[in-house]
């Protein structure tokens, strides 16, 4: 919500500068987003009066002007604009001045003639003709500016002289004198060869000596349009030029800013949804008055009325949808003269970010801004049968709204209709069929209160949230409709825009009743932790019109009456906030909590999560955060079979896009996406992890079964299957998982994402913890990666279950160990796991450790065979082993290796 401080000044007087004002308002609860000095960029620009003009000696289109800028000596300024005349008041940017857009003006020379500044056009001041409709410039076609498109075939001969015929009744004429009669009204004396005539014109670019095309029949000086000429043929006869000021009471030397309304400051507020009353100048003025403890000057609209006719005879209002329309208030204006609204109104609208249109539309906008009450104006002649009916739309009913769109309605929409058809979409937008147009004469002002939910849903369904609907949906004060409509009628009279009919039609579908709640100072102090005196509390409340009917401020609990615009205040907590706002949030003491101590801490699952993270990091894995939503196509990318049940995902009905449209049931695509991104960024290697969630259907209450997964992913030079396996072993060791073993994949459909020969499932006893391995080359290719990617998906709950017991100390060995290295040759197909199992089986109780240290294939080992070498550590807890004892054990081990695995000592 933008607030013009000038407009605000009509209701409260506050001298604070913008910064202090913003701070004070913010701290009392109206958050200021920013402040803006409208004239910030304009400096040293004044009103000037053109004293004289001479043609530039070296230019066919420039003028050298002497301008009175309120200084002793006039200043000389050279301009290329042709719409000025002596005695015109113009904006003058003096030497060393600034203009909007950071433009700096300094003196200089134009074709050798000194120019001490610049006269400004509207656009140079950051304005346009909507701000100053009278500043529209109509250029005449000056024959002395004629440049034929085809040099060989000019339409007008170069040597044309006054009196020469151009076509029909149009002849060449020479201007001998120009007199300015008013705004865009000139009288030009023309010599037509045979004699002279005096012609009225609105063309602003005429000066003595110019040749023009004069329609002798119509006594009209022709424009480009009249001659059907193109702009290129008259390059300097353009509808752009200097902004000629026609403002009362300005004199040379006056600062321009107040003249064009650039002396205002605009404050932008963030208004929270509970305070729709603050979406208005008056609402904010109330807050300002309460904040600064200065009086609020409200104005009671006075309508003279007296237009011919009887309102009740002309207009009838019915509200069959009474439940959706608590109040409907309307007045009528006759003999409307559509015209631009006055400068002060245009300035205020513009300062608040609203574009001026015409007096009637501007009045409705002005009242909406001032009172926060959306207004609508209809053209009465289109209200068939003189009847306004507020009803639900018929299913499929169509209405073309003011923006020219055809809207198809449902029974959930509320419309304003006449006897035959809808003429407006209640609270959202008017209908095109009843729009105010230039020849509108009778206007109906609607000031109503509609049901917020109905308006919100209606606007939403049509995708057309308007300024009006945004206000209505928050729930407006029904008490506001009458003063607002009266204010509109008062403005009509003030602007002379029409004649107001006596009387108001005011339909109330509810019983207005002041709301009273109980104020309890002790409870407020208890909530705030303050010791504010009750009398002070009632005083704070009174600042925002929450008053107790009691004569003096009470010392204890008392009823208070809530003003109609404060629907948000319903209980003691709301009153506490009002008290706190004006006592000052920052004056509330700061204390530490008393009461029962609670034992804070982390749950076992949270601790496990911390452990997993710290092991991953010590293995070199960086933590990542990925989106929980993915595209359904990602399941294809990771080669999940089309009929795989795990594809069933929570689907977002209103996603931002397909890529974020379903909740993932696997973390794999998220990890692959990040690996790929790093790969594409040419990062040489990456090791990443995330404890992320997957969202499976079938949770309680129709919610998801949300499970956590430790997702790991890596690529790079030092990365292979066993590197990742090592990290996983480290994790399982850290959580003291028992009976850890790795097996071939179980044949689940999701295995398809992995390289079939390079992936394994991870087990602790019979508890399957997850899967890891190299990503299937086809999956990698789907991600555009031609290198090897490795991923692991470890189920968090399974890791929880796999946690081993707390460690218990085992005595350190007292006797030395004997180590033996053995290398056995076996078939390729025999796994190291099987060999290890055989070693453990063959040992006779002395084997403490068997560690693989080499696998060899090649020279000396037969084709299809491999040599596998282990380092065995043997030890007895009660004595030093002899070599013979160790050898006996190794021999037993070798026997089992041969029996079970066909592995023989190399």
């Amino acid at each position: 919500m933008n607030l013009s401080r000038k407009w605000l000044g009509e209701f409260v007087t506050v001298d604070a500068n913008d910064k202090d004002f913003a701070e004070a308002m913010t701290l009392s609860g109206s958050k200021v987003e920013l402040t803006h000095d409208l004239g910030e960029e304009i400096s040293n620009v004044v009103v000037g009066k053109i004293l004289s003009m001479e043609r530039h000696p070296d230019s066919d289109h420039m003028w050298v002007c002497q301008i009175d800028v309120g200084q002793e000596e006039p200043v000389q300024i050279v301009t290329g604009a042709w719409n000025i005349h002596p005695d015109d008041m113009v904006p003058v940017a003096l030497h060393k001045s600034t203009l909007p857009g950071g433009k700096k003006i300094e003196k200089g020379k134009l074709r050798g003639v000194v120019s001490n500044g610049m006269m400004c056009g509207l656009s140079e001041l950051g304005l346009d003709t909507r701000d100053f409709p009278y500043a529209v410039i109509t250029p005449a076609a000056l024959l002395n500016d004629y440049h034929p498109l085809d040099k060989d075939k000019p339409s007008i001969p170069a040597d044309i002289q006054p009196g020469h015929k151009i076509f029909g009744s149009v002849v060449c004429a020479r201007i001998t004198a120009v007199r300015c009669d008013g705004v865009n009204a000139y009288t030009a004396a023309c010599e037509v060869g045979s004699g002279s005539v005096s012609v009225s014109t609105n063309c602003a670019n005429l000066h003595a000596g110019d040749l023009v095309a004069l329609d002798t029949k119509k006594e009209h000086i022709c424009t480009l349009e009249d001659l059907r000429a193109q702009q290129a043929e008259f390059p300097h006869c353009i509808p752009d030029g200097i902004f000629i000021l026609h403002e009362e009471g300005v004199k040379p030397g006056d600062d321009l800013k107040p003249v064009i309304g650039a002396d205002d400051h605009v404050v932008e507020f963030e208004i929270t949804p509970n305070r729709p009353d603050c979406l208005s100048v008056i609402g904010l003025a109330r807050e300002v008055s309460a904040t600064y403890e200065v009086p609020l000057r409200l104005h009671e609209p006075v309508v003279k009325g007296g237009a011919e006719g009887n309102l009740v005879e002309l207009l009838d209002v019915e509200t069959p949808a009474a439940d959706l329309c608590p109040r409907y208030t309307t007045r009528m204006v006759r003999n409307v003269k559509i015209a631009p609204s006055p400068k002060w109104m245009r300035e205020r609208l513009r300062a608040m970010g609203v574009r001026p249109i015409n007096n009637i539309v501007d009045i409705t906008n002005y009242v909406m801004l001032e009172y926060g009450q959306p207004m609508h104006a209809f053209d009465y002649r289109y209200v068939k049968g003189g009847k306004i009916i507020v009803r639900r739309a018929k299913e499929g009913e169509e209405l073309t709204t003011l923006d020219g769109q055809v809207r198809k309605l449902t029974a959930n929409h509320l419309v304003i209709a006449d006897e035959t058809r809808a003429v407006g979409l209640a609270g959202i937008m008017g209908g095109e069929n009843s729009e105010i147009v230039d020849d509108t004469t009778d206007v109906v002002f609607e000031s109503a209160c509609f049901d917020g939910t109905c308006i919100r849903k209606g606007a939403l369904a049509l995708g057309m949230r308007t300024e009006a609907s945004a206000k209505f949906e928050k729930g407006l004060d029904p008490m506001n409709t009458l003063p607002a409509v009266n204010r509109a009628c008062e403005l009509v009279e003030l602007l002379g825009a029409g004649e107001v009919l006596d009387g108001v039609i005011d339909i109330l579908n509810y019983v207005p009743q002041p709301r009273t709640i109980t104020m309890d100072p002790d409870r407020v102090n208890a909530l705030l932790g303050t010791e504010i005196h009750p009398v002070d509390m009632y005083r704070y409340l009174e600042r925002v019109d929450i008053c107790t009917p009691e004569k003096n401020f009470p010392n204890g609990p008392a009823p208070v009456v809530i003003p109609s615009w404060r629907a948000d205040v319903v209980g003691i907590a709301d009153l506490a906030e009002e008290v706190a706002r004006f006592y000052g949030y920052n004056n509330i003491p700061t204390t530490l909590m008393l009461g029962q101590t609670t034992l804070g801490g982390y749950s076992p699952a949270q601790k496990l999560e911390q452990t997993l993270g710290s092991v991953c990091r010590s293995c070199g894995y960086d933590e990542i955060i990925t989106y929980s939503f993915i595209s359904p196509t990602y399941y294809d990318k990771i080669l999940w079979p089309a009929d795989y049940a795990a594809r069933k995902s929570f689907k977002i009905l209103n996603p931002l896009g397909e890529d974020t449209s379903i909740m993932r049931t696997t973390v794999l695509p998220s990890m692959l996406e990040i690996l790929t991104r790093n790969y594409n960024y040419r990062n040489k290697s990456a090791k990443l992890y995330e404890v992320g969630r997957i969202y499976l259907p079938g949770g309680e209450d129709g919610l998801a079964d949300e499970r956590k997964v430790l997702s790991m992913g890596a690529y790079g030079e030092d990365m292979d299957f066993y590197t990742m396996k090592g990290a996983i072993e480290a994790i399982l060791k850290e959580i003291r998982a028992e009976n850890v073993h790795f097996e071939a994949p179980t044949g689940a459909p999701s295995d398809a994402s992995y390289h079939p020969g390079r992936c394994a499932t991870v087990w602790s006893g019979s508890n399957c913890i997850g899967i890891f391995g190299q990503i299937h080359p086809l999956v990698a290719r789907n991600y555009g990666v031609d290198g090897e990617l490795y991923c692991a998906e470890l189920n968090f709950d399974a890791l929880m279950n796999a946690r081993g017991a707390d460690p218990e100390y085992t005595p350190l060995p007292k006797f030395p160990a004997v180590t033996r290295d053995i290398a056995v040759v076996c078939d390729e197909a025999v796994t190291v796991g099987a060999l290890e199992a055989a070693i453990r089986k063959g040992a006779r109780g002395l084997l403490k450790e068997a560690a693989l240290f080499d696998i060899y294939r090649g020279k000396g080992v037969a084709e299809g065979k491999k040599s596998v070498a282990f380092n065995l550590i043997l030890r007895a807890d009660d004595r030093s082993l002899t070599a013979e004892e160790a050898d006996a054990d190794v021999k037993a081990i070798l026997e089992v290796l041969e029996q079970d695995c066909g592995a023989v000592l190399r």
């Binding site: 209980g571 907590a573 509330i588 204390t591 990091r617 955060i625 977002i652 990040i674």
Partner: protein
């Protein structure tokens, strides 16, 4: 013989003195004291001596031997020290050659910020709760006093899974307040960090998924002054002692009175600069006294109990903590970014 012994002694001692290394010394030891050494050779002649001469000569010989052995030991120590010195000199390294790399992983900056917050609150007796992200609109909105029609319930703002707008992606961590009230014994002190989702297109300051930390205290006689005191303590731990804060009135459906807490801009110290958009303050979090209706809906008597709650955006906290300018970096997970923390 006496003369011989004296000669050996003098020669040997002189030779030891000259020895350049341990090997040379050992050679000398053999030469003089070895089985076939010179001293031994002299001693072998002892038998030729008379019984009277023998003890005196024996004693003399022993003295010479002892002197030589002592000298060898001394010289050997000297030579050892010299050899060590030489070795150390030879083994000297270029210490500027980089160490053998140990690649450690890095915690994501957002989780660094979260862990800091968690530790502070756990230290104050708070429990950390975890809850569902696919949530009931009833808990995300209704039970938090955001009734039908509240703008945040719009399909343009919130992600839904069914046409009835019943199941949604939680748009705030606040439903954890309700879950805590429904399941925990009073008094309650919890924080609940987690992912939240809003329908915002990705840009430098927005993401459809981000993280919040919810906090809530319910007990008898809990006041707004407690809220201020606790949050001030947290801010001092996060941003240093003496960090200035201010509280502004604000509005949330589930708290009343509500506030937003600002910290004084660290960059300009409150004067106003581009970092704080000229305000001198940076918005940190939203908070307030739990709305009596919210307590009532959870079966807690607002006349007996009161509470306060807050919600803080984690990404923004982390971005401020590490001066990260663009939110997209948080979710991009470029290792060159991650490894800075």
């Amino acid at each position: 013989m006496k003369e011989q012994l004296a000669n050996i002694r003098a020669q040997a001692l002189a030779a030891f003195e000259e020895a350049q290394d341990l090997a040379a010394l050992d050679e000398l030891r053999v030469k003089y004291l070895g089985k076939k050494g010179e001293l031994t050779a002299v001693l072998k002649q002892m038998g030729k001596l008379s019984a009277e001469e023998r003890p005196a000569m024996g004693q003399l010989a022993n003295e010479v031997r002892a002197a030589l052995e002592g000298a060898i030991e001394e010289t050997s120590k000297k030579l050892e020290a010299k050899a060590l010195e030489q070795r150390l000199r030879d083994e000297a390294l270029d210490v500027t050659v980089p160490g053998k790399p140990v690649k450690l992983g890095h915690k994501h900056p957002m989780y660094i910020a979260l862990d800091e917050l968690k530790d502070i609150f756990v230290g104050m007796g708070f429990t950390v709760l975890d809850g569902p992200e696919v949530e009931l609109a009833e808990l995300n909105f209704d039970r938090l006093n955001a009734e039908e029609g509240h703008p945040s319930r719009d399909w343009s703002d919130t992600f839904y899974f069914d046409e009835d707008s019943r199941v949604m992606l939680r748009s705030q961590t606040s439903p954890m307040q309700v879950r805590a009230m429904d399941t925990m014994e009073l008094p309650i002190r919890i924080i609940a960090p987690g992912r939240v989702y809003r329908k915002d297109e990705v840009d430098a300051t927005h993401s459809p998924m981000f993280h919040q930390v919810e906090g809530m205290v319910i007990d008898k006689n809990v006041t707004m002054a407690d809220l201020k005191g606790t949050l001030n303590t947290v801010v001092e731990q996060l941003y240093g002692k003496g960090t200035k804060t201010r509280f502004r009135p604000h509005h949330f459906p589930f708290t009343e009175p509500s506030c937003e807490m600002d910290v004084q801009c660290h960059k300009c110290g409150g004067v106003g600069c581009p970092t704080c958009k000229g305000e001198g303050w940076i918005e940190l979090l939203g908070a307030g006294m739990i709305h009596p209706r919210v307590l009532e809906m959870s079966g807690i008597d607002p006349n007996e109990y009161s509470g306060w709650a807050f919600g803080i955006g984690l990404e923004r906290t982390a971005m401020r903590r590490f001066k990260i300018a663009d939110l997209r970096l948080i979710f991009e997970n470029d290792v060159r970014f991650l490894e800075q923390f």
